[in-house]
């Protein structure tokens, strides 16, 4: 199966190659008890690229990225990340993979019994198994500074606003320096100014850490700022693909409905 796809580069010298594909999905199908959510999802994510996925609520955008980190298993199709098939991984391999992937949940998913500092320390001590407290403090402060929330370090998540929570969530995923970032609706539920700040933060992070990202959104402003490439999803399939400018000119009804909202 994989041999037919010329895009996949050999595993070893990977990191230097510009066009290297980090996520390759082909014909992904996912169904739940009585509905087929994903019917045929096919895409390649290249290194260093920001791919935006547009689609209405309930169309299965979150399900797609949950498959990438192995939270869900596709019923059919091929899904490889860094050249390895996710569905065939054992617990250890899955853990290794997850360490390279950052996942920003829709809600931020901060651990609400822990302070911001403890939230950020968690992946360092539990996943990277660091135990040099100075190193930990340094990394926590650095990444928190990066999202502009250094003064909130000892607060509990319940004392933070929605935008701040998203930023801490972002900091918590970035602290382990992932190679791939998956953003699930990073700007939903935020005011326009905060949304724009988050979008710009995503762009900065891409530049700073050279991550490849999938950004799920229906915020066109966010898509415009962050996207190198946009795919539009409808009824379990990707129906259009292109840059922001290209899709703006599309005459597909579904695509138009996204772009018209803002203009």
């Amino acid at each position: 199966m994989k041999a037919t796809n010329g895009n996949i580069s050999p595993k070893k010298p990977a990191s230097t190659q510009k066009d290297e594909v980090v996520i390759h999905a082909k014909g992904i199908k996912v169904g739940f008890v009585d509905n087929e959510v994903l019917k045929n999802i096919t895409f390649d994510l290249k290194r260093g690229e920001n791919m935006v996925v547009l689609g209405k609520s309930g169309s299965g955008k979150s399900v797609t990225i949950q498959c990438i980190v192995g939270l869900l298993k596709p019923d059919a199709g091929d899904l490889t990340v860094f050249g390895q098939n996710v569905a065939e991984m054992n617990d250890d391999e899955l853990k290794q993979l997850r360490m390279k992937i950052g996942f920003l949940f829709q809600s931020g998913a901060l651990y609400d019994s822990m302070t911001v500092r403890e939230n950020l320390e968690f992946p360092l001590t539990r996943v990277l198994k660091l135990n040099d407290q100075q190193e930990i403090d340094k990394r926590v402060e650095e990444v928190l500074d990066g999202v502009g929330l250094l003064d909130a370090i000892d607060k509990l998540p319940s004392d933070l606003s929605g935008g701040m929570r998203k930023r801490v969530g972002l900091a918590r995923t970035l602290i382990v320096k992932p190679e791939i970032m998956l953003y699930d609706e990073p700007t939903t539920g935020l005011d326009p100014i905060t949304s724009r700040e988050i979008s710009e933060l995503i762009l900065n992070m891409q530049k700073k850490y050279k991550t490849s990202s999938i950004i799920i959104t229906h915020d066109m402003e966010c898509a415009r700022i962050t996207a190198d490439r946009i795919v539009v999803m409808d009824d379990g399939e990707y129906i259009a693909e292109g840059s922001y400018k290209e899709l703006q000119k599309s005459d597909n009804k579904m695509v138009r409905s996204f772009f018209n909202e803002t203009t």
């Binding site: 949940f105 651990y111 968690f122």
Partner: protein, 258 residues
């Protein structure tokens, strides 16, 4: 109708299967990876210390009430001096452990169920999992071990306080001194009264932690499922306590009470 019943049974069977898998995963995670000591200690504090008051008050009242209720029949038998012994044996063997466990099912199983349920709903458990950390080790192993340790401790404390409550009730009518009363209590106790009772409470504690964690960890992703998780954790844990009690009494009577 029939179809409904069949799907109902299938759900039930699936649930049992899932619980077995959960148990196996819990067991495997005790021995693999690094143990979360600080979280374990925090849970012991939360579970043990915070329930002490409640267990203490209930046991005290139970001891007191029991003496008042038992007294007339024992006096009628002319065996008044047997009152401390009767109380002690019934309290240590049965009433103390069960009361404590039921109180803990209400307080601890529900709070674990609600806590993990809300962590599930707000995707915190998923977040832990996709970060490459092990939520089972951090959340489940610590809680189940903490309940298995703290419920027996609480039960022992409850026993002592319950006997003290009994003393107060007895003292109103009989004017017995505290040292003499406790001397009588302890003298009437056998190894075979105490040990099975403590072992039993370890299982009660395990059931409380396990059910709470299972219900919370496997709750659905809606806001109402947090309530459902908490509620069914209490109901299931209470049921398990009585089932375990019934099994335990058979085993102990085979082994000890000839």
């Amino acid at each position: 109708m029939a179809e409904q019943a069949i799907t109902g049974w299938r759900k039930w069977a699936e649930d049992i299967g899932e619980q077995c898998v959960f148990f196996a995963r819990f067991f495997r995670n005790i021995f693999t990876g690094s143990f979360e000591w600080s979280e374990f200690v925090r849970q012991c504090y939360e579970i043990g210390y915070r329930s002490m008051m409640l267990v203490g008050i209930t046991s005290f009242i139970m001891g007191l009430v029991l003496v008042v209720q038992l007294r007339p029949s024992i006096v009628a038998l002319g065996a008044e001096s047997m009152l401390p012994k009767t109380l002690t044996v019934s309290f240590i063997r049965e009433i103390g452990p069960v009361i404590t466990a039921i109180i803990c099912a209400g307080k601890i199983a529900s709070s674990i169920g609600a806590e993990l349920g809300s962590m599930k709903v707000t995707e915190q458990i998923d977040a832990m999992e996709v970060s490459g950390a092990n939520p089972l080790q951090y959340l489940v192993v610590t809680r189940i071990l903490a309940t298995s340790l703290m419920v027996p401790l609480l039960a022992v404390i409850g026993d002592v306080i319950g006997l003290f409550g009994g003393f107060l009730a007895l003292n109103i009518t009989d004017n017995i001194s505290l040292p003499l009363y406790f001397h009588k209590c302890i003298a009437s106790l056998d190894f075979s009264d105490f040990l099975p009772a403590v072992v039993k409470t370890i299982f009660f504690g395990f059931a409380i932690g396990f059910v709470g964690c299972y219900k919370g960890y496997h709750s659905n992703k809606g806001t109402e499922s947090v309530g459902i998780a908490a509620n069914s954790a209490v109901v299931t844990a209470s049921l398990w306590i009585f089932v375990i009690d019934a099994i335990a009494v058979q085993i102990t009577s085979l082994l000890f009470y000839k």
